[in-house]
C-alpha cells in the first residue's frame, strides 16, 4: 500500500515539476472559492454563535424567560409573582438598557445589564465573572469587560462618561472583568451593574425587562404554559434560546445572499482550476500514453488522476482556509451594523468543526469537479493514441464523444430555462443562476470555435501578419482560447452580477432611507450609528420645548420607533408623527394605494406591514390582525403592504400616537425638526445643538448626515461582500497572466523562428495580444452580457429575500471597469510576453546542436 502511494506521489511530483504554473493556477482557483466560502461561514457562525455564548453565559441553566415587549419593561411585582409559580426552581430579574461608554481612547455602544443577585445561582459563567469582579471592587458603579475597557481606555476606579436614555452620566468603573474569565463571551458588548442602579440610570425604577427561569426538572413545558396563561397578554413567555432564533432570522437574508455569492465564487474557482488543468492536458496525455505503452496497470492510471485531484483539493483547501481566515479577520470581523443595532453581539469569532468541514468538503468536491472533465479527456485521447494497449478499464473511452453541437444546444437550453424559471419563479433563482453558469460553460467550446471562425474570415485579408497568424494559432490550439475566454467570462460575469445586484440593493435601501428622512431637514436622536433604527427612547418634553424656540425652527415632531418580537422575527415598528407629510415612504409601498393608506394610518387603528409579516399573519389589505404589544394584543387593520424600510426581517408602520398608546409610553426615540424656508441648515443645526438641555446625550444631524449614516450602516455588509469578490478577480488576473506567459513558454521554438525570420518587438506584442487579449476581452463581453442577465434574475430574488424594493439598473459601470482592467492586463501581459520572447536565447529556433 505504501509502495503504491509512493508511486502515486512520484507521478504527482513529476507532473508538478513539468507543469508548476498549471498546478499553482489550479490550486489558486480552488483556494479562492474555499476562502470566500469559509470567510462567509465563519462570519455567520460568529454572529449567531456569539449571541448563543453570551446568552448561555448570562442565563446559565435558565431555559425559560418572561420578556417585555418594549423598552419600558414591566413592574417588578409581576416578576415576583411569576417567580412564585410552582415550576420555578430559580429565577433572576434583569434590566437591560443600551448605553454608550466614552473613554479617553474612544466610544463603545454596550448593553447595560442589571440583575438580581440570584442570577449567579443560575450558573452562567458571564454572570459569575461579573459577580466576582463586583465582590472584589472597592466602590464604583460600572463593571466592564477587559475588551471594552481596552477599547475605550477605562481604568478601575476612574470615571467614564456614559450616555443612557438621552442623558449623559459620569460613572466610576467598579471593576474590569478579565477576558480569560469571560471565555468565549470576552468580546461581548455587555456592561453590568446592580439591578437598582440600572433601573435608576434607565429611569425605570421598579421595572425590569426580563426574568430568567430555571425550571424544576421536567417542568419546562408546564412552566412555559403557566407563564403564557398568566402573563402572555402583555409579555412574551418563551425559551431563552428565542433571542438566538430571532437573530438567525434577522441574519438569514444576508446569509442567503452572501452564501449565494460565495457559491458563485466557488463555481468561478472551479472554472479557473478547470482551465488550468485543461491547459496542460496535452502534456499529460503524452505522459499517459507513455504509461499505457509501458504496461502500467490501468487502475494505477485512474488512481494517479484521482490522486492529482485529491492533492489539488487538499492544497486548495489548506490555502483557501488560510486565506479565508485572513479574509474573515480583515473583512468580516465587525458585526453587520444592522444586526448590532438589534442584538448584543460582539466581535468574537466562532470557528466550529462544521464550518471547517463544510469548507473542506466543498473544496475537495470542487477539485474533483474541476479535474473530472480534463481527466476524462486525457484518458480518452491517451486510449485513442494507444488502442492496442488499452484494456477493459479504459475501453469506455472508445465510446463516441458527445458532439460540440449537442453540448452547445444543452448549454443554450440551460441558459433559456434558467432565465424563464427565474422570471416565472423568483424563489428558484439560486438554482437558475447555477444553471445559467453551467449553461455558459457548456456553450463555451462551440462559441469559441464559431468566434474563431468569424475571426479567421475577418483576418484572412488582414494586412497585419500578426492578426492572421494569431487567429490561426488559436484555432489550432483552441484549449487556450477556451481557457482565456472562460476566465474573462467568469471575471466579468462575477463583477457585473455581484457589483450590479449589490448596487441595486444599496440603492433600494438608500431610497427607503431618503424617503423616510425627507420629512425633516434635521434629526435629533441618542447614540451614534449603532442606533440607526432609533429604538432608544428618551424623555423629550423639556428638549422639545427648548428646540421649538430656536429661531428658524418651524416644528419639532416626535417619532417613536421600536423593535417588537413576533413568533418568527424581530420586526421594526415605525411610529410616524401624524404631522408628517407622508405616513408611508412611497418607494416602500408594495401593495395598496398610497393616498388611502396615508389617510387610514393617520386615522389610527390601521398599520402597514412588510410582505413577509402580512403573509405570516395571513392578512390582506383591509383585513384585521392582532399584534402583540406591551399593552396587550392590539387589533389593527392592514392599510398596505410595504418593503422592509432597511430592516431585513420586516417593518410595521403606524402613526406615532398609535405607537404611544400601544406601547404605553410617550417617550420619543427621535425628533424631526422642520425649518422655516429662510433658515440655513448650518445655523439651525448650531442653534439646535446649543439649545439642547445640559447633560442631554443627543446628537443633531442634518438630513444628509443621517442618510449617510443609514447608508453606511446598512450598505456596509453588502459593500464588504462586493470587496471580497476581489479575491476571485485577483486569481483571475493572475491566471490570465500565467496563461499568457505559459503560452509563450510552450511555443518557444515557434516564436524563436519568428524572431529569426525578422519579426520585431511590436509585431510579437501584437501577436500575443491578438492571441490572448482578444480571447480575454471577448470573454469579458460575453461575461458582461451574462452578468447583466444574471443581475436581472438575481434582483427579483433579492427583492423577495431581503424585502427591499430592488429595481434593476444594468451594471454598465462595473462591467466596463472590468473590461478596462482586462484590456490593461492584456496589453501589459502582451508586452511582458514579448519582452520574454525577445530576451530568449534564439538557439531553439534551430535544431539542437
Amino acid at each position: 500500500m505504501i509502495a503504491y502511494l509512493r508511486t502515486l506521489w512520484l507521478l504527482y511530483r513529476r507532473s508538478v515539476r513539468v507543469q508548476p504554473v498549471r498546478e499553482a493556477m489550479a490550486v489558486a482557483g480552488i483556494a479562492a472559492g474555499v476562502a470566500l466560502l469559509f470567510a462567509v461561514q465563519v462570519a455567520h457562525r460568529s454572529i449567531t454563535g456569539s449571541l448563543e455564548q453570551v446568552t448561555r453565559g448570562v442565563a446559565g441553566r435558565a431555559t425559560v424567560e418572561l420578556a417585555a415587549r418594549g423598552p419600558e419593561g414591566f413592574q417588578q411585582r409581576i416578576a415576583e409573582e411569576a417567580e412564585r409559580l410552582p415550576g420555578v426552581a430559580r429565577a433572576a430579574q434583569i434590566v437591560e438598557q443600551p448605553i454608550v461608554v466614552h473613554g479617553p481612547h474612544g466610544r463603545r455602544p454596550l448593553l447595560l445589564v442589571g440583575a438580581t443577585e440570584q442570577v449567579t445561582s443560575l450558573g452562567g459563567e458571564v454572570s459569575s465573572a461579573f459577580e466576582e469582579a463586583a465582590n472584589r471592587s472597592r466602590g464604583g458603579i460600572l463593571l466592564l469587560s477587559e475588551a471594552t475597557a481596552d477599547a475605550v481606555g477605562a481604568r478601575e476606579g476612574k470615571q467614564v462618561a456614559v450616555s443612557i436614555a438621552g442623558q449623559e452620566h459620569h460613572l466610576a468603573v467598579a471593576a474590569i472583568v478579565p477576558g480569560t474569565r469571560l471565555g468565549p463571551a470576552a468580546q461581548a458588548p455587555v456592561a453590568a451593574t446592580a439591578l437598582p442602579v440600572a433601573q435608576l440610570l434607565a429611569q425605570r425604577p421598579g421595572r425590569v425587562n426580563r426574568v430568567l427561569f430555571e425550571p424544576r426538572p421536567g417542568r419546562e413545558e408546564a412552566l412555559l404554559g403557566e407563564l403564557r396563561a398568566s402573563f402572555g397578554a402583555r409579555l412574551d413567555a418563551r425559551p431563552v434560546s428565542t433571542e438566538a432564533r430571532l437573530l438567525g432570522n434577522a441574519a438569514g437574508a444576508e446569509k442567503q445572499v452572501t452564501l449565494l455569492f460565495s457559491a458563485i465564487s466557488l463555481v468561478a474557482g472551479i472554472v479557473l482550476a478547470y482551465n488550468a488543468l485543461l491547459l496542460a492536458s496535452d502534456e499529460r496525455r503524452r505522459f499517459m500514453v507513455q504509461l499505457i505503452r509501458t504496461g502500467t496497470p490501468e487502475s494505477m492510471i485512474f488512481a494517479s488522476l484521482a490522486f492529482d485531484a485529491t492533492v489539488l483539493g487538499v492544497l486548495g483547501c489548506v490555502l483557501g482556509l488560510a486565506a479565508g481566515e485572513i479574509v474573515s479577520l480583515l473583512a468580516y470581523q465587525s458585526v453587520p451594523g444592522y444586526i448590532a443595532a438589534a442584538f448584543p453581539i460582539g466581535g468574537q469569532r466562532v470557528v466550529d468543526a462544521m464550518t471547517v468541514l463544510s469548507a473542506l468538503g466543498a473544496g475537495i468536491v470542487a477539485a474533483f469537479a474541476a479535474a473530472a472533465l480534463p481527466a476524462l479527456r486525457i484518458l480518452r485521447s491517451s486510449a485513442q493514441a494507444e488502442p492496442e494497449a488499452v484494456g477493459r478499464a479504459l475501453s469506455f473511452t472508445h465510446r463516441r464523444q458527445t458532439p460540440d453541437m449537442a453540448v452547445f444546444a444543452l448549454g443554450v437550453v440551460l441558459v433559456v430555462l434558467s432565465i424563464l424559471t427565474a422570471a416565472v419563479l423568483p424563489s428558484g433563482t439560486v438554482v437558475s443562476l447555477m444553471a445559467l453558469a453551467a449553461g455558459l460553460v457548456l456553450c463555451m467550446p462551440l462559441a469559441t470555435r464559431y468566434l474563431l471562425g468569424v475571426a479567421r474570415r475577418a483576418t484572412r485579408r488582414a494586412r497585419d501578419p500578426a492578426a492572421l497568424l494569431s487567429v490561426a494559432e488559436l484555432r489550432k490550439r483552441s484549449t487556450r482560447a477556451v481557457a482565456l475566454l472562460a476566465t474573462g467570462t467568469i471575471a466579468a460575469f462575477l463583477t457585473v452580477l455581484i457589483g450590479g445586484s449589490v448596487s441595486d440593493v444599496k440603492h433600494a435601501v438608500s431610497q427607503g432611507a431618503t424617503d423616510l428622512l425627507s420629512s425633516a431637514q434635521i434629526w435629533i436622536k441618542p447614540g451614534g450609528a449603532e442606533n440607526v433604527y432609533t429604538t432608544q427612547p428618551f424623555q423629550q418634553a423639556d428638549a422639545q420645548q427648548r428646540l421649538e424656540r430656536v429661531p428658524g425652527v418651524a416644528s419639532v415632531q416626535v417619532w417613536q420607533d421600536s423593535f417588537l418580537d413576533l413568533s418568527k422575527r424581530r420586526v421594526w415598528v415605525v411610529g410616524v408623527p401624524t404631522q408628517t407629510t407622508q405616513q408611508l415612504a412611497p418607494s416602500q409601498l408594495l401593495q395598496g394605494s398610497l393616498s388611502r393608506a396615508d389617510r387610514l394610518l393617520r386615522k389610527g387603528g390601521w398599520a402597514a406591514l412588510s410582505k413577509p409579516i402580512a403573509q405570516e399573519l395571513h392578512v390582506r389589505i383591509g383585513q384585521e390582525f392582532t399584534l402583540p404589544t406591551p399593552t396587550g394584543m392590539a387589533r389593527l387593520r392592514l392599510a398596505a403592504t410595504v418593503a422592509n424600510y432597511g430592516w431585513l426581517p420586516g417593518s410595521v408602520v403606524m402613526n406615532e400616537s398609535e405607537h404611544a398608546r400601544l406601547w404605553g409610553s410617550t417617550a420619543a426615540t427621535q425628533l424631526a425638526v422642520r425649518l422655516t424656508p429662510d433658515t440655513t441648515l448650518v445655523s439651525a443645526k448650531n442653534g439646535l445643538e446649543r439649545a439642547l438641555p445640559k447633560g442631554a446625550a443627543l446628537s443633531v444631524h442634518t438630513q444628509s448626515e443621517r442618510r449617510s449614516e443609514v447608508n453606511a450602516v446598512l450598505g456596509s455588509t453588502l459593500s464588504r461582500l462586493n470587496d471580497t469578490t476581489i479575491i476571485v478577480l485577483v486569481v483571475a488576473v493572475v491566471s490570465v497572466l500565467a496563461l499568457m506567459l505559459s503560452a509563450v513558454a510552450e511555443r518557444r521554438e515557434r516564436l524563436n523562428s519568428l524572431i529569426a525570420v525578422g519579426w520585431d518587438f511590436r509585431q510579437l506584442t501584437r501577436l500575443v495580444f491578438y492571441e490572448t487579449g482578444v480571447a480575454l476581452l471577448t470573454g469579458c463581453l460575453m461575461g458582461m452580457a451574462a452578468g447583466l442577465v444574471g443581475q436581472y434574475l438575481i434582483d427579483s430574488w433579492l427583492s423577495d429575500t431581503t424585502g427591499s424594493p430592488v429595481h434593476y439598473s444594468p451594471a454598465w459601470q462595473p462591467g466596463l471597469r472590468t473590461f478596462a482592467i482586462a484590456t490593461g492586463i492584456s496589453v501589459l501581459a502582451s508586452v511582458l510576453a514579448a519582452i520574454q520572447i525577445v530576451d530568449m536565447q534564439p538557439r531553439t529556433a534551430f535544431s539542437a546542436d
Partner: protein
Amino acid sequence: MLELQEASKRYESPGEIVHAVEDVTLNVRAGELVAVFGPSGSGKSTLLLLAAGLLKPDAGTILYEGRDLAGMSKRELLGYRRTQLGFVFQGFNLAAGLTARENVSIALLTRGVDHATAEERAELALREVGVAHRAGHPPDRLSGGEQQRVAIARALVGEPRLVLADEPTGSLDSDTGNGVLDLLSSLPRERGVGTVLVTHDSAVTRYADRVLNMRDGRLCGDGVDRPAAALTTE
C-alpha cells in the same frame, strides 16, 4: 557575400565553458551551396545563428556584403534578416492553422507587401517548389516532404540573397530528403542566391558545391574550405 573571419563563440555555464564555434573562417558566394556537415553538438547551429546575426561572435568578424554584422544596429540586423535572408528549419515551423499559401504569403506581409501581391507571389513560389496543387491545404494535411517544400517556398518568396537551412532533411525519409536537397541546390543557384546548409545527412555531398566538415566547433583540418569531392573521398 557572407564572410566569417576567424569567428569564435563560446557558451559559459557554471563550471564549464563550451567552445561552440572556434576560429572559423568561411566565405559564401552568390549562387553557391555550402554544406556544413558534422555530428550533433559540433557547432553547426551556432554557426547559423552567427550568420543570421542572432548571436555575436566573441572573437573574429562576420561580414555581409563587406559590412560587419557586429556594427549593425538592432534595426539594421532586423532588416538584414527580413530582406537578405531566407530560413529553412528542420521542424518546418509552419503555422498550423494557415494554409500553405498563407504560410508563404505571411513572409511577405511581414515585410509590408500588400495582400494581393503577397498571395500572387506565394502561389508562384509554391508552383516553383511543386506544391501549387496543395496551396489551400493546412500543414497537417501535407506530407513531411510537402511541408518542407512549402517552407522552402516561404524562404525564397522574399527573394533573399542568402538562405540558411538547418537540417532541412532531418525529419524526412531519404527519398523525400533527396527531393528537398535537389530543390535547395537548384532553385537558389538559378537565382544567384547563396545557401548555407547545416546537416549530418551525408547525402548532401551530392548536391553541395562545397562541404565543410565541422567537429568540436572547428571546420575540419585548419578550418579551410574543402571541395565536396575531397570530403567524399576521405
